[in-house]
Symmetry: C2
Subunit: 582 residues, 2 copies
């Protein structure tokens, strides 16, 4: 019970102090979330109120199920972009089908996350290597920013890939709308400046640290208010400035997501991709913030909580949500002590939905676009390419490939290619385990890599130490390598496989060992094992390998050599033994 | 040059003796191959001559490029079934489009194999775990055998999955044709008996061991001859016995495979699957046979050779080929000394194509079906399930799943599911690396798993040894585990990661380590490393981890503990040090 409802744990010792902390954080996050929720709905190609809806029920549900005390769940840039990409395939923007598909997407991704959580499949996130995910996020940031330029210029353009967007912008550049450009430029400039400049500016004018910080968070809202007033006063909508227009007032109504199997099958893959990307992002920010206060989060429970949040979004007419990075950090800095802060945020958003929506009529889309652009550019980190390259070129290559594919072919192809690349890279590495040919350190019972130490060997005995567990990706390698060595040197009569680093042998590797054993037998060579770990041995005795094995199993490699090549071990001094088995 | 054309190596010391050995083997394999090539063409839904064509050019090319001295390349059962499945999607049996698609399939799979070989991508075969491939082969055998029943009963039926085939057979059972059943039953019974019974039978009648062996190989051909005579004598075709009919005489003409991008994209996945399955099978039989004479094969060159063989098949109007298991063993037993045996087989097949085709007119399809059934049932090994389960239930589960999916949804879905399962299983395992919390063995400088040895620890220091390389599948696990341990015990002040088993740290794992380091810092805990391997250290110094790391890097774990918890190491006796670093 407590495992699935963490609220029962933190809820019990909920005090007045934590309550105050949570309220303050909630106010700040709400102020930040109002414009963002509208903006991300716009980005997803959905009506603005959908953004508001997605910021109420999901947060409430996460409060009940979540284990992170600072995570702020809601609409985020990348998930919104992926939603637009997935749903755009199936329906025309502005149609009920489009909205329905977005809701279905939230529903499916909710089901998947919940399922993964209950089945403890969190490891599926390991499909994505860090370089690939960070490359994908950077590319998405670029795509998102460039997709907003049309709103900042007041031209109509579309496209899901960078080339498409650029050509379509260039094509329509003639119909640029000056008032929109002015508002867009103003808002963008202000928001950029406010991130760095506003706080010092206000403090210089004697404002309190804390209040100045709050003002920075409120910058987007004030941009919203100011531009609304500008449009209203000068009737700029008459000058061609696109505005948000009517936003239905009132709370989201509980609604069934569309139950069409056809639609679901089409959305299954995108839903999976959104779920995985969202989860990976959520878990890393949650973990980072939890650590700062030495708290714990449960990755599997986070899957359940995210799943619940998305189901909540779907059943209240919202679109896919996940843990937002920036927002969570703000929530944390603002002092959120428990997930209750989220609940208060949800209440704040509900009030906003009930009261503020009429005021949004004159809100220029350019302002929302500015909010998005400023928000997402922090996602773009191309320096990571250089850093990664310095450490590991193959990882950097995967990163660059992911970025290029995402920019040129769109998000879904991009992330799919990323997953494929991650797995290929992983298989490639696991197919080439680290191994060493060993010789005896003179006068000791120790054996070391012949390439790195001065050691003694005998031509009749080949000592190989494999430094990885044996399973199917390296089964082939095992066969090829051992066998090639033997075929290369006709003097070899014994092969001793030194196994202290082998923690697991799967069925494929077992068959490979049996094949090696048979091949060596045919070649008149005996296969021996040394220093086999207990758990591995327990499995091996279940198999035919032991019964058919040409050679013996030795407790230590030294024992093996003493039996097989007494002439070299004879030299060994008698000294306190140090078991080499770990 | 010699690397890509092994013939330059074995060709130089080609003697009269090897020539004789090769000729004998070639004759035996040809006798075996004639009925098989016709049968597998039938299985693939292609005209019989295509089977003959696929047994000439490909073998010649393999002779030039191949490194295995006994491998017999040509049409095989599973590849033929997969061809039928892939091509059946796109065209109607018996149409030129169908044949064209089959040729294009051989062409694509040739290109892919060649490409993989030149890029040394042999590791791609590690996509498939042994249990999955063996499960797939068994299921294919069952599918193939059941798909031939219609020919044995003389009814018309179709279907790509077991349910489809069975229902369609049951539906048409009324139109059963007695003469066909008789021929089919006769041929099947004879072929089954000949495998075990013929040799002793003949020897009992004083025939020489070797000649009797040859007779067994010739059993299918004699079945062909006898049934042809039966049909011809009694005009059984008039009684509704389906016969092969006209087979165009003469050698295959060089022809361009269809160059339609649309077709290629549709065939890309099947081609890849056929290539991988074919390669995996080929390499294992080649390796097994090579070992028996302590010879070597080069896996990457085998890819090139197989690729060349398939291109050769495509350009001579054939369908996908690969190394046949049974045929290669026969070739080996018959004494084939070099790939030249293949060349002679090709010549034999060419002669057959030039001279025997008219004789095939009256050949009943039932006989070919019998040949197939008897051949493929040796592929079915359901006992493997039990054996695998005894050793490793999760592998057995993957095997069973592959078998069921293949039988119920067909070969392509089956092998795809198998690949998916293999990868999932692998990621699941690599996402949970083996690790141990360590303590000091009293009075020594050694550290062991606290769960398995009586060791001393101090609450301030957490010693963790991870027994796998660190990369993205276990990066998440690393973060979660270390961090959870620390969060669970507030007394911990130092975490020492013992790294002797870590051979590689990829960019993801590095980021995870940096995250862990930062998280521990925030929690007031220092991260240290001990016994980092040279190559790993070389990479780490390229990274930020070292500069930001809260703690130190120690040469040995003992040094770490001596620095961090002198109170327990103080007890250590002074004794000759044994380096623990490998």
């Amino acid at each position: 019970m407590k495992r699935f409802f963490p609220i029962l744990t933190w809820g019990r010792d909920y005090s007045r102090m934590t309550f105050e902390a949570d309220i303050v954080a909630a106010v700040i996050v709400t102020i930040m979330l109002i414009p963002q929720s509208l903006a991300y709905a716009l980005l997803a190609g959905l009506p603005p109120e959908v953004g508001l809806y997605a910021s109420i029920a999901p947060i409430l549900i996460y409060t009940v199920l979540g284990t992170s005390r600072a995570l702020a769940v809601g609409p985020v840039a990348v998930a919104s972009l992926m939603t637009a990409a997935a749903v755009g395939e199936l329906a025309q923007r502005g149609t009920p089908e489009y909205l329905g598909a977005a809701i279905a997407l939230a529903f499916l991704s909710g089901l998947m996350l919940l399922g993964m959580g209950l089945l403890r499949l969190g490891f599926i996130a390991s499909f994505l290597s860090h370089p690939v995910i960070s490359g994908f996020i950077s590319a998405s940031g670029i795509l998102i920013a460039s997709s907003q330029i049309k709103h900042l210029l007041g031209v109509s353009a579309n496209g899901k890939t960078l080339p498409e967007i650029v050509t379509s912008l260039v094509g329509n550049i003639a119909s640029i709308n000056i008032p929109t450009v002015l508002i867009g430029a103003l808002a963008t400039a202000f928001l950029f400046w406010s991130r760095k400049g506003l706080k010092p500016f206000l403090k210089a004018r004697g404002m309190k640290e804390r209040l100045a910080g709050l003002a920075v968070r409120a910058a987007p809202v004030s941009a919203v208010v100011v531009t609304i007033l500008l449009v209203w006063l000068f009737g700029l909508q008459g000058w061609g400035v696109k505005i948000v227009g009517d936003v239905p007032q009132g709370l989201p109504m509980p609604a069934m997501p569309p139950l069409e199997l056809g639609l679901w099958t089409q959305l299954a893959l995108p839903a999976l991709l959104i779920s995985i990307v969202g989860y990976v992002e959520t878990i890393s920010v949650a973990q980072t913030l939890a650590a700062k206060r030495r708290q714990r989060i449960d990755p599997d429970q986070e899957l359940i909580a995210l799943g619940g949040a998305n189901l909540g979004s779907a059943f209240s007419g919202g679109f896919p949500v996940t843990g937002g990075f920036a927002r969570s950090v703000v929530n944390f800095d603002a002092g959120a002590a428990t997930p209750a802060a989220g609940a208060f945020t949800a209440i704040g958003m509900a009030i906003a939905t009930l009261t503020l929506t009429p005021a949004l009529y004159f809100l220029p889309q350019a302002t929302l676009a500015a909010t998005i652009v400023v928000a997402v550019l922090s996602l773009v980190d191309l320096g990571a390419i250089k850093r990664t390259f310095a450490y590991c070129p193959s990882d950097a290559a995967a990163m660059v490939a992911t970025i290029l594919v995402t920019l040129i072919f769109g998000v879904e192809t991009g992330i799919s290619a990323g997953v494929g690349l991650s797995i290929l890279l992983h298989l490639w590495r696991s197919s080439r385990p680290h191994y060493a040919i060993m010789g005896q350190v003179p006068g000791t019972e120790h054996f070391r890599n012949v390439d790195r130490h001065r050691v003694e060997t005998v031509p009749e005995v080949l000592s190989i130490r494999i430094d990885e567990s044996l399973w199917f990706p390296n089964a082939r390698f095992l066969e090829d390598t051992i066998y090639d060595r033997v075929a290369a040197d006709p003097r070899i009569r014994h092969v001793v496989l030194n196994c202290p680093a082998i923690n697991f042998i799967d069925a494929s590797a077992l068959e490979a060992l049996e094949a090696v054993n048979a091949q060596l037998k045919d070649a008149g060579v005996k296969l021996h094992l040394s220093e086999v770990k207990g758990p591995v041995m327990d499995r091996l005795v279940q198999s035919d390998l032991i019964t058919h094995m040409g050679g013996q199993i030795y407790l230590t490699h030294y024992d093996a050599l003493r039996a097989l090549a007494p002439e070299i071990t004879a030299a060994t001094l008698t000294q306190p033994r140090c078991e080499t088995a770990k």
